[in-house]
């Protein structure tokens, strides 16, 4: 049985009027002669979100994601088009909007929940849960202005989700806060989904979109490029980003070890090469998603050369997240590796065999990349699917290859 749509958007357009001088606005009001130029933020947007479904919105900076969310929430009015939203909406458009810096976190819980339309009695009930979830402890009675940005987010997120709205709208909320809290947020949002609530959120974290959303919308310059299954949309978007060399978040977060080498990456106008695929396999050539500690992994990427006489270096990295490298492997440290020159149209297969993987717990990704001859210009990088370490005995973050001997003399 199909659920009723919670959110329906039809042919939505949003344009901003740009006035060159502030007085033009007044002149236009009085003389009724148009004095503005139009800027289309959103053009012909239509979609629907059913109850219990979640929608992710992705796209480059300035694609209109935030504007769309604001219209959904109702803080902005569409220029033309229809929009229907059924149910109570809680929005986290900017974290801590509505917090009063001079008041304690506890007072702000009441203020914020009142803004979301909750009665005082209900807030009193929720208060404990909110404080607990935010993990603020004693800080809850200090003025909010003394909070770190992470604490701010934690409190705001706790309030917005504790209120139990029918629809939760989040703009980039998960990008702040530490990993532990991010994990809690994802759990909370998953539970939200299990409770058949509707969620809309935009993020630059493709991983979160894939994890949390059923459908995704890819916006580009105010138009819907693609709408559909989130895995598919994310994959296409990432492809687009990689090939257009546009500056998306994952590329911004190339591991620290190679951070300084990619500074001028955006300056290259001609694309030199393209990573077609990246995969992680066992020695037998089977694709891996669960990694057995101390096993051998084969990291492979296929690179298409797009210009003549390309020379370069290759690299792989194990990444905890898009910001946190665990281990890096770069060819510039080794002699005797084929560095080209390669000719246009050639397909390169790069393979790195890693013996005895040392990770014992957790999840990680493999990042593959290509740098120019100097190793300073980072052409291309691409993330693999997420890998999980298979459960095993022991404690601690890593495991080492080892041999025991016990001798009795």
């Amino acid at each position: 049985m199909s659920k009723l749509p919670r959110i329906t958007v039809e042919n939505l357009n949003k344009e901003y009027r740009i006035y060159e001088r502030p007085q033009d606005r007044l002149i236009e009001l009085i003389s009724r002669k148009p004095k503005h130029s139009l800027f289309n933020v959103l053009t012909d947007i239509s979609f629907a979100v059913a109850e219990g479904k979640s929608l992710g919105i992705i796209g480059n900076n300035g694609a209109g994601k935030s504007t769309l969310l604001k219209i959904l929430v109702g803080t902005l009015q569409p220029t033309t088009g229809n929009i229907t939203v059924q149910g109570q909406v809680a929005a986290l458009l900017e974290l801590g909007a509505g917090f009063h810096p001079e008041f304690s976190g506890r007072r702000n819980i009441f203020l914020n929940a009142a803004l979301l339309g909750v009665s005082d009695e209900n807030i009193a009930e929720m208060e404990k849960g909110i404080i607990e979830f935010s993990g603020l402890g004693d800080f809850i009675d200090r003025p909010v202005k003394t909070y770190s940005s992470g604490m701010y987010v934690r409190l705001a997120f706790s309030i917005a989700t504790m209120v139990q709205p029918d629809i939760l709208v989040i703009d980039e909320a998960l990008s702040v806060g530490d990993m532990a809290f991010q994990k809690k947020c994802v759990q909370r949002m998953n539970k939200f989904r299990d409770d058949e609530k509707t969620m809309v959120f935009c993020s630059h974290s493709m991983f979160h979109i894939q994890e949390l959303c059923d459908t995704a919308i890819w916006l580009h310059e105010g138009r819907i490029i693609e709408i559909g299954d989130s895995d598919k949309v994310v994959a296409d978007y990432e492809d687009f980003c990689n090939s257009s060399k546009s500056y998306n978040n994952i590329r911004e977060d190339v591991p620290e070890g190679i951070e300084n080498r990619k500074q001028s990456a955006q300056e290259t106008e001609v694309q030199d090469c393209k990573i077609n695929t990246i995969s992680v396999q066992t020695l037998d050539g089977e694709e891996v998603t669960k990694v057995v500690p101390l096993s051998t992994l084969v990291l492979k990427m296929e690179v298409e050369v797009l210009v003549d006489n390309m020379e370069g270096h290759f690299g792989f990295a194990f990444m905890r997240s898009s910001e946190e490298p665990l281990a890096t492997f770069l060819t510039q440290n080794f002699e005797g590796i084929n560095r080209g020159p390669f000719q246009k149209g050639e397909i390169l297969s790069i393979t790195l065999v890693v013996d005895s993987v040392a990770m014992r717990i957790g999840e990680f990704y493999v990042l593959g990349g290509l740098a120019d001859k100097s190793g300073l210009l980072w052409y291309e990088s691409k993330f693999s699917k997420q890998l999980t370490v298979a459960t095993n005995k022991g404690v601690g973050a890593i495991i080492m290859k080892s041999a025991w001997t016990v001798e009795q003399n």
């Binding site: 009027r17 502030p22 606005r25 803080t75 008041f103 803004l115 005082d120």
Partner: protein
Amino acid sequence: MFFNLIREWLQAPFVNYRLFHNFTRQDFFSQFTASMGGVLWLFLTPIVHLVIYSFVFSYIFKMRAPPEFGEINFVIFLMIGYLPWFAFADAFGRAPNLVIEKAPLITKVVFPVQIIPITGTVIPYLTHVIGFTIFLVYLTFKGYLSVSWILLPFIFGLQFLFTLGLVAVISALCVFLRDLQQMIALMLTIWFFLTPIIYPISLIQSESVQRLFLLNPMHSFISAYREIILLGTVSPVHLMIIVPISIISYVSGGWLFMRIKHAFGDVL
């Protein structure tokens, strides 16, 4: 459409009572939380003003209260006009920034924005009604109490509605025309001196000029307070001005605010 907007405006503080209550409490107390003097400033400012005005007008200019009010100290005469004016001026002067200050909230959270001008007017009135009441209590000891004093809350309430209408208009327009901020400050000074607060209206010789002052509703409000408190009566001409003007201001100001509040998000 028109009536819907008006109804929404009239109901705003009641339908959204929680929010209204929380907002008022927040803004009322935030006046003091960051400053060391706290509540002290609330009383210090009008007291200092009164001392200065009394010194200048009563001592230097040797101003006397007009004879029709009997033998009273000019300072008392001044204060009856000045305290309600201060409530008005406070609300009026803050109006330009009300909505602009709340910009992060308005663009990020959906809530009945009409609460903002209401809170912005309630707070100065709440603050100054305290001072005014203390002053009235002092006057009862002086033996001024009369039955007609029951009219005072009524007049004060009308003055509140009159102010609220203006505050709603100014706070909304300032979003689009930032220049209004400077104009309002200037207007307030002009308005203050064109209202017979620090001087009795009888000081004006020409009858026709005196009649011109009836165009200023604040003059009628202040005259009404003076007549009620000191004489126990009120001239119908003042009532005939303040009752309709307050209702007109309240309703039309609210209507205008409700009409343009949707555009705030685009400009803020």
